[in-house]
């Protein structure tokens, strides 16, 4: 199992920040997932061994955190917030629109592997609602038209 140099540098550095090895687990799982695409059996075993944990202990942590996934997502994970602040100003309509436009259900991935659609809980953009995150990038004060533009941009970016 090979990670990038950046990952290894970060891993080594973060180990020095805590009195126990397993403290690096949550952030490192997220960085590993960003690199590999999902938390595969191989990633889980590798991190478990490095942190002197069992695979089960690592899986137990993964299942708690909503950003962590053992199933691959599309290149762009479109996370539409429908929590209260977004709901009041059209978050649900945005989600419905995305479902139609992308032709997938919640947590579904387009056949070309470009987009995954996910309904998410509050992303901390309440004053700029309705908002979405595509991977880690925020897109705020959206309308259906703006949403189309955002998706088209990613579509272009992804095919280059």
């Amino acid at each position: 199992m090979r990670f990038s140099e950046e990952f290894e540098r970060r891993f080594a550095e973060m180990l020095g920040h805590y009195p126990t090895r397993r403290s690096v687990l949550v952030p490192m799982l997220l960085y590993a997932q960003d690199e590999i695409g999902s938390l595969t059996d191989e990633v889980i075993t590798e991190l478990a061994q490095r942190l002197e944990l069992t695979d089960l202990e690592v899986r137990n942590v993964i299942s708690y955190y909503s950003l962590l996934t053992t199933k691959p997502r599309g290149k762009y994970n479109v996370q539409v917030c429908t929590n209260i602040a977004c709901m009041l100003v059209g978050g649900e309509e945005l989600l419905e629109h995305c479902k139609k436009k992308l032709g997938v259900k919640n947590k579904g991935t387009t056949p070309d592997g470009m987009f995954t659609l996910e309904e998410v809980e509050c992303i901390g953009a309440c004053s700029w609602a309705p908002a979405i995150q595509v991977n880690y990038d925020f897109h705020e004060n959206l309308t259906v038209d703006k949403m189309d533009q955002v998706l088209d941009q990613y579509s272009k970016k992804g095919t280059v």
């Binding site: 920040h17 949550v26 955190y65 929590n83 209260i84 709901m87 009041l88």
Partner: protein
């Protein structure tokens, strides 16, 4: 990047460097940066704690506990290392203020952690930022690195002989981790399951050591207090509610945004003046005053001073500063359902009343909203919520129960309008999943 707003009534204390390039450490230094920590290094720890106590600063995460008091609970002598932990796991629906602090003024948070550490005799601090805020963790990591490069962190800070390390830590998506004991579990690399208290974190916290846990906004308010003085800060707000607060105005408003207003600012004015009122000629229906866990206020209750004690008198809470405004086109049952869906999703399942209660309530509210409700459900929803209160390790159970009870109590008529097969009178799309009526 989140856009900034302004209003003449704002008093900028925590937000004074927003939009001024203070992520750059040299710019931060020009704008009074790292002066408060140097002043604190020359003070007795007890004097720092007294200053913060006298300032009337209360926890901005939502509980509103006196910050100075919290610090004073940390034992002077400890065989275990002591820690300071900054809670930047902002996830209460309606709240988006810490995001701006991290984006515009990360060094203020670092400086706040430093002062807290000096006050309680800790040599290690952590700044926990939620996983969704990746761009902010990048900003924070750079800020910490810059502070080390200047010699502000590490060994012998500012030549004082005091050693202090501060590290960044990241989450991976979990509302419950915003609760202090779950936050510590998460930082220790575990599921964010809350711990039973007592012992409180101030005595037994991270890895068993005494730990001070404060919200990012609380810590960012500490440097200005140390520079401006407790009296000045206390005078900005109302008695026992010192300072200002970042209010996140959201929902059906003409000018939503994050505004820094004095503690005790009138809610009605906040909605109609600062927030620009309700758009599209609609009328105000209800306000959630401090994040999704705080009981809703009706239009008759909004003439209230937004400080911890005044809002508590209405039976609600000032909470995390997330003011969510609903206009009269919205259905309260649907709003209650969406709120409960969130708590059901976020419940960790450790405590049975919360795990089962949120699930049962979501199912009942869903059936209710789709016209499958019967009269006895209304009392059942209330009764179920009531029986979750105070029966869980962490306040997530309460956070789900309190707003639900208020929705039923204050908007009972609207629940009755949904009874037995009636379509939701507010549904915009006309697309509701219809479920059978259970007699």
């Amino acid at each position: 990047m989140a856009s900034l707003v302004s209003h003449p009534d704002e008093v900028r204390v925590v937000s004074k460097r927003f939009g001024k390039g203070a992520t750059n450490i040299d710019r931060y230094l020009e704008l009074d940066g790292y002066k408060a920590v140097q002043k604190s290094l020359g003070m007795q720890p007890d004097a720092i704690i007294a200053e913060v106590k006298n300032s009337g600063l209360r926890g901005r995460g939502g509980a509103g506990f006196s910050t100075g008091m919290k610090w004073s609970f940390v034992p002077k002598q400890s065989a275990q290392p002591k820690y300071v932990l900054c809670n930047g796991d902002e996830s209460e629906p309606g709240t988006c203020k810490d995001r701006l602090i991290f984006e515009h003024d990360p060094h203020a948070v670092i400086e706040g952690v430093m002062i807290a550490a000096i006050a309680v005799g800790s040599h290690t601090g952590y700044i926990y930022i939620r996983g969704e805020y990746r761009y902010l963790s990048i900003i924070m990591q750079k800020a910490i690195k810059d502070a080390y490069a200047k010699g502000f962190l590490g060994k012998n800070i500012f030549g004082s002989g005091y050693d202090l390390d501060i590290y960044w830590h990241g989450g991976a998506g979990a509302y419950e981790v915003g609760e202090e004991s779950a936050l510590m579990e998460s930082l220790e690399g575990k599921r964010g399951i809350p711990r039973i208290r007592p012992p409180f974190p101030a005595v037994v916290g991270l890895w068993g050591g005494p730990t001070v846990i404060n919200n990012a906004e609380t810590l960012a308010a500490v440097p200005p207090i140390m520079l401006g003085g407790a009296e000045w800060f206390a005078g900005l707000g109302t008695p026992k509610n010192g300072g200002t607060r970042l209010f996140c105005l959201a929902g059906n408003l003409n000018k939503p945004g994050v505004y820094e207003l004095p503690m005790g600012y009138n809610l009605k004015k906040m909605i109609y003046d600062v927030g620009g009122g309700i758009p599209d000629g609609r009328e105000l229906k209800a306000v959630v005053p401090g994040g999704s866990s705080t009981p809703v206020l009706t239009i008759d209750e909004i003439d209230v001073a937004m400080d911890f004690d005044s809002v508590a008198k209405t039976g609600s809470m000032l909470g995390s500063g997330g003011v969510v405004v609903l206009d009269d086109s919205n259905c309260i049952v649907k709003f209650a359902l969406r709120t409960m869906k969130f708590y059901r999703h976020e419940s960790c399942g450790w405590c049975i009343p919360c795990r089962e209660g949120t699930d049962w309530l979501e199912k009942t509210l869903k059936r209710f909203h789709s016209g499958g409700g019967v009269m006895k459900d209304i009392d059942n929803i209330y009764y179920l919520s009531e029986n979750m209160l105070g029966k869980t390790f962490c306040p997530l159970g309460d956070a789900a129960a309190m707003p639900t009870m208020a929705f039923v109590k204050k908007f009972r008529q609207e629940f009755e309008d949904h009874l037995e097969g009636k379509p939701c009178p507010f549904e915009r799309t006309g697309k509701i999943e219809h479920l059978p009526v259970y007699a």
